[in-house]
Amino acid sequence: MIEAIAMAHGWEMQHDANVVVIGQDVGANGGVFRATAGLQERFGKERVQDTPLAEAMIAGMSVGMATQGLKPVAEIQFMGFLYPALDQIVNHMSRMRNRTRGRLTCPVVMRMPHGGGIHAPEHHSECTESMLCHIPGIRVVCPSSPARAYGLLLAAIRDPDPVMFLEPVRLYRAVRQEVSDDGQALPLDVCFVLREGNDVTIVTWGAMTIETLRAAAELDSLGVSAEVIDLATLSPIDIETILESVAKTGRLVIVHEAVRNLGVGAEIAALVAERGLYDLQAPIQRVAGFDTVVPLFKLEQDYIPSAQRIIDAVQNTLADQG
């Protein structure tokens, strides 16, 4: 997936002179995960800038640059280091358009590695997308494959408003896929149905699509047909697609790596409980990270929801005949 991300940067910088890349080690080093590899050689030190070590600065500078019509694509080295930048995101990036009645805008993309599973050190396995999704005025996007990473990143850069782009670290190297560098963006604000099914709807995103699809395959062999939906844009939520699926299957399981309490799954469950209650034939189930701090890596596999947990949750909803 990492190559697809670098490719999307390259395409858009080639076609839009206003796109500028900033962040820690994005230049000569090409990013700690190599997401910006080769860009500085290609586009120069003004358009691909290594910044000093300060996240609030990266976000605040992005706001200032964007109000002048540039399109900053800023890398935050890991999601666990985003927090110093939240003030600028909540109080300015997400509000500048509204505050000035459209006079000044913030077409900014903030990219960051998301989630765990690669035996990284402390603070390198965060999934705090909820904190971002709760902020009005920004979009939050999380790709689940190289092709979607390429198409959604292009869409994010082209979007006239701020987009938080969360890149699942487990997919950076794991998933390989031929992606044609055709500059075709994918739509924001919509889900992708990864697998059709009739017995249960499973909504997930990012790296958890892997365990979920594995679970779906195994369920299939057990005669259970699961529909798997990749949320893709975590805010705003494309609830229509989910409601249609639930209307068909009557059962909903939500899977995410983030802690359960106020994870994005909570909003999905709430929307379905408000608007799709009568379609539900069994209680909604959330399979999520535990409501605790992501453990250091010796236990991370015990923290990240497993395919088995997903399978059991599906079996429970099916067993439940009300």
């Binding site: 300060a54 605040g60 640059m65 109080n91 509204n98 505050r99 009645r101 006079r103 408003d161």
Partner: protein, 360 residues
């Protein structure tokens, strides 16, 4: 032990509190029309400020932060800047805003609780009022980065208060401005107080100009009640930045003659004596004395100036009053360029339950 680095902070004053010239007069100050222009603007800021305070007290304006005593710094910065430069204000810089072309009506509209006050008709690219302390300094650095990338001869000017210099964001802004050699000028308005905290308790630094040293950029101090000195220092800083010589920090020493805002009661934490003393140094006295000594100003002119300022303020106030309360749609119109579906539903709900009252 070897000395590996040495630094100096210098202070400039041109007009002393009595209006005596204590340093070489800058060219612009030799042009009496220009001096009159600045004096009139300082007076206008003060008259407007008094009216705004009054509107708040009578429940016709929201919380308001008075610029009383800051007129020299505010007008000097405005006068030194070029129209194409951009300003990142905080919440108190009425004088600079008026000079830049922000209207009194817009100012009242914002502090009256209506976002339309930030949709400046004239300085279209200036940043809006900024309440979260110090954050604006990073916006200025970002704009300056855009100017540098596009090779535009423009400068971004950010204001910050003495209290604001304690926020990490300010240090980050100075550091990146230095590291990237950005065309940015940071004006610290040291008015002695951050709400109830005196600057001596805010930091052990004996000057705030020396905050610049941490970033390896120049810093200097100026008498913030001296409109000549501030304009001269800021103009030099802008020229240097415009020529690619990088950013700098200017600490303007002045005094907050008012309460922090209309929500504050300064008598709780500072002495009347201190305020009384500060009044003797306030910025209008000395310019007026300079003009009178130059034989180009008298009581009659002063009186007619005050009258015309009052008239302009009154006109702006009635324009402010005449504006209808924004419709509930205003909450949704400018959140995104492309509205997600759920916002349309919510807009309908807001219409259904919208109150008629102005919210006052």
């Amino acid at each position: 032990m070897r000395t590996v680095a040495e630094f100096k902070i210098q202070y400039r004053q041109v007009l002393d509190p009595q209006g005596r010239i204590v340093a070489a007069l800058p060219a612009f100050a030799a042009d009496t029309d220009e001096v009159l222009r600045m004096y009139r603007a300082m007076t206008m800021a003060r008259v407007f400020d008094a009216k705004a305070m009054n509107l708040q007290r009578t429940g016709q304006l929201g919380t308001y932060a008075s610029c009383l005593g800051h007129e020299a710094t505010h007008i000097a910065v405005g006068a030194a800047m070029a129209a194409e430069d951009i300003l990142a204000p905080v919440y108190r810089e009425v004088g600079t805003q008026l000079w830049r072309g922000v209207t009194m009506r817009e100012i009242l509209t914002y502090w009256g609780g209506d976002e339309r006050g930030n949709d400046f008709a004239i300085p279209r690219q200036d940043f809006p009022w900024c309440v979260p302390i110090a954050t604006q300094t990073l916006h200025a650095a970002g704009a300056a980065m855009a100017f540098k990338i596009r090779k535009q001869p423009r400068v971004a000017v950010a204001y910050i208060g003495d209290g604001g210099t304690s926020e990490g964001a300010f240090a980050e802004a100075l550091n990146v401005a230095g590291a990237a050699n950005l065309p940015a000028v940071f004006v610290i308005v040291n008015n002695g107080w951050a709400i109830s905290l005196p600057v001596a308790a805010q930091t052990k630094a004996q000057t705030l100009a020396q905050k610049a040293i941490a970033a390896g950029i120049p810093g200097m101090q100026v008498d913030g009640n001296d409109v000549f000195a501030v304009r001269q220092v800021v103009a030099e800083a802008l020229d240097a930045a415009r020529l690619g010589r990088g950013p700098c920090v200017i600490e303007a020493l002045t005094y907050r003659l008012s309460d922090h805002t209309t929500a504050d009661d300064a008598s709780r934490y500072r002495s009347e004596a201190q305020v009384k003393q500060a009044w003797e140094l306030e910025p209008l006295i000395r310019v007026r004395a300079f003009l009178v000594n130059a034989g180009i100003w008298d009581a009659a002119q002063e009186e007619s100036l005050l009258r015309s300022c009052a008239e302009q303020v009154e006109a702006a106030v009635s324009a402010y009053f005449s504006a209808a309360k924004p419709s509930t749609d205003a909450m949704f119109e400018h959140l995104f360029a492309v509205k997600p579906a759920h916002l349309l539903e919510q807009r309908a709900t807001a219409r259904k339950y919208g109150t008629k009252s102005s919210g006052h």
